[in-house]
Symmetry: C2
Subunit: 456 residues, 2 copies
């Protein structure tokens, strides 16, 4: 009986926690940093690790498949006739680790301490991938799976999934499924089971401002030509108005107005002002004053400076007037905003604002639109019920500030919705030094996924 | 007879050019970068090289003398009774070489090509030091020197000479002289013999802006807290008004108004708008519109961004909201401006302008006031006559945009004026990749220094 099967699977999961953790440590020790060419071999190691793990679970047609850049790992198990096909998505790549000096442990030597596992990727998202595989292992130990599954693990999520859309288009039949389970979203807090139904899009740029042909002696031309680092700062300063609004022309044209209902929903989230003050350690928050922090993150687009570089940056002094200055700049987009339109708005902004004293170049590095998932679907209902059993609490439904380009691709290319879950916490330091995973929450997550599969 | 001695010295100089060049190549091959701790041993090698060369010339009391940081090389030759004592100043340290990728030759493997020698320090100022030593060698080959000389070679000029003032105070008797010959200034053009009578001061800062305690995921807090890279850009943008005026409160209070005479003098310099367009390759100049480029460089203070660093700066993308952002910022000061006052003005600016959403720290790395040399002195007259003979042209008298802190120290601590010369050209790429020295001008400079010593 299903009840018995479920209990057996949960029992196995509880008894096998040490081995699940060890599996995650193995996976997280592979430095699969996708943005860094020098980690090319590690990318392939991580893909191979997953393929081996899937093979070992008894999955079929396991394949590491080439794309224009980093490979996709595919597998399937289709022996539950009449049951839905769940496409399980994950990414095996991780963020860079810089500044490495701020890590208290080796980011690729996963280290347990108290209730946490410290490692790059522990939370985002190798931990989530291993949670899904551990849930499946727990079921498969004694019984066949109660659903059909396919796997799509990519290696480019942290660089905007540049070659995934094309690969998906070329493999639409292979990827045919009823919906996608994507555990790359997180929880609002460890006692708040969370279902994410909205994600922001992302468009990422590199802006370069050029001044003199060479770096020059600041005493020989300073005050006579426009310093490109200063000119870049002036352009950046002009990208927001005094109220924190982005000034790219037309940037807000497609942004939906929040209804009273939506605002009431946001008001119930635990994302309060004091929570962000505590999380970040800043003395005062910033941003559009007419929206709450939860609204700004969930329903408003942003423009952020991700990096700055110009001239002399070592210790000491060098009186150089730099030849150029660079900024990494990205916009989080809300549904209906289009990355290419924002690219055009940025170019219009620069054409209008850049002075004749400098030259600029803008490169769009990646772009993906935002998405909102339909809540009325069996996958969401199965997940909500699973979370309620494990946490003894109904989940909260949130629109998240982050971006998962693949969710939009699943909608537009495969025509399927994504069920977004995951067991990372806001305090996990993802994309930052000392990334960690809260293990008690992670173990609950494995239980929740076991329930989820049986609820379908 | 003096005439014969002079001719013999000039003959020797012309016959020994290959050897002088080899000597410069030896000296310039030592990577004595003063701002970089890892070049500590090279600093000492460069000092030792000079001491050996002075010893070889027959100078007396040659000594490498410790200071709080990099050593001073001292020597003297005082056997011309009744003749003036000339304190010959130079620095043996050089600027860093970054960005190294833009060098077409190894900066510390001095390379001759056509009329140029390419090397870090070839022009600024190992070439100038070797020119002075070569002129002395040419005279000493057949005759004693016609003047008394002392030498002060320091190793901290490129980092603002932080320990030189104290060392000078402790050695006032040793350094007693009639005036200083300082060949660390340059020429306006290769056919314009130049005497520099005014120098700007320099105060150099590092400004840090702090946001969240750690680097964070831009999708999780972007739009909710103030991005410190953006906040730094906003502060930098506010440091100049729309007319290119520095906005630090009180910055221009002590700046002298230019007289009609001075403006007429500046108008005769070859530092025209088209010269700077050609030198830098920019499409349009920038700066205070009511002053000419020559006036802006010679008589107006500036604030320049020398470096910017924040967040992710590698190839590719990382969606980080950085925890902090840094700028290297320096001001060129005109006579009567005080570095400590400018430091206070900068702090007042930041106190007034920095928003409550971020925290800032300002470090003053070095500071030295500007200076104007009295033109009515025997050293200047001797140099002017020497240049006129060699170039068949009267020198132009200029106030230079750069800063040589030691000139102010010589005035205030030793009570002596400096005769500022040098045979570098504006196109020498000093402080930049591919620094070079124009050898035909350098050889003329050696001749001019021989004349100069005989003219005293």
């Amino acid at each position: 009986m299903t009840k018995t099967n479920l209990d057996q699977a949960l029992d196995y999961a509880h008894q096998t926690r040490e081995s699940f953790l060890q599996s995650l440590k193995d996976f997280a020790s592979i430095p699969s940093v996708s943005t860094d060419q020098s980690h090319q071999a590690d990318i392939h190691s991580a893909a191979a690790w997953l393929a081996k793990r899937l093979e070992h679970l008894g999955m079929q047609n396991v394949a590491v498949m080439p794309t224009d850049m980093h490979p996709v790992v595919y597998a399937e198990w289709l022996q539950a006739p009449g049951k839905p096909v769940v496409l399980i998505y994950g990414h095996y790549d991780v963020q860079p680790v810089d500044p490495i000096s701020l890590w208290q442990t080796d980011p690729f030597n996963p280290t347990s301490a108290g209730e946490y596992l410290f490692a790059r990727g522990a939370s985002d998202m190798k931990g989530q991938v291993v949670a899904a595989l551990s849930a499946l292992e727990s079921i498969l130990k004694s019984r066949p799976l109660p659903v059909n599954v396919k796997f799509l693990f990519e290696g480019e999520e942290e660089i905007g999934s540049p070659s995934l859309a094309r690969w998906m288009k070329d493999h639409q039949a292979l990827l045919k499924a009823d919906f996608c389970l994507n555990p790359d979203a997180g929880m609002l807090a460890k006692d708040s089971p969370t279902i994410t139904y909205g994600l922001r899009g992302l468009v990422y740029f590199e802006l370069k401002v050029f001044g003199p042909e060479n770096d020059m002696h600041s005493g020989m031309v300073g005050g006579v030509i426009h310093n490109p680092a200063q000119a870049l700062a002036e352009l950046i300063a002009a990208m927001h108005d005094a109220n924190g609004k982005v000034t790219l022309p037309g940037f807000y044209d497609r942004v939906r107005t929040l209804s009273q209902d939506e605002r009431a929903q946001f008001a119930q989230l635990p994302n309060t002002e004091s929570k962000y003050l505590e999380l970040t350690g800043v003395k005062a928050l910033w941003g559009e004053p007419e929206f709450t922090p939860a609204e700004r993150l969930g329903a408003r687009p942003t423009l952020e400076i991700n990096g700055l570089l110009s001239g002399f940056t070592e210790a000491g002094q060098k009186t150089v007037l730099p030849s150029h200055a660079m900024a990494k700049i990205s916009c989080r987009l809300v549904p209906d905003q289009d990355p290419d339109e924002v690219d055009a708005q940025f170019r219009r902004f620069l054409t209008e604002k850049a002075p004749p004293t400098i030259r600029w170049e803008l490169e769009k590095i990646s772009g993906a639109p935002g998405s909102i998932t339909n809540l009325d679907q069996p996958g969401i209902r199965a997940l909500a019920a699973a979370q309620e059993v494990v946490w003894q609490k109904k989940p909260v439904y949130v629109r998240e500030g982050g971006s998962i380009p693949v969710v939009g691709m699943m909608q537009s290319i495969l025509g399927i919705e994504s069920v977004l879950t995951g067991f990372g916490l806001p305090e996990d330091h993802i994309h930052s030094p000392n990334e960690r995973l809260h293990l008690p929450t992670w173990y609950k997550g494995i239980d929740a996924l076991i329930h989820f599969f049986y609820n379908l």
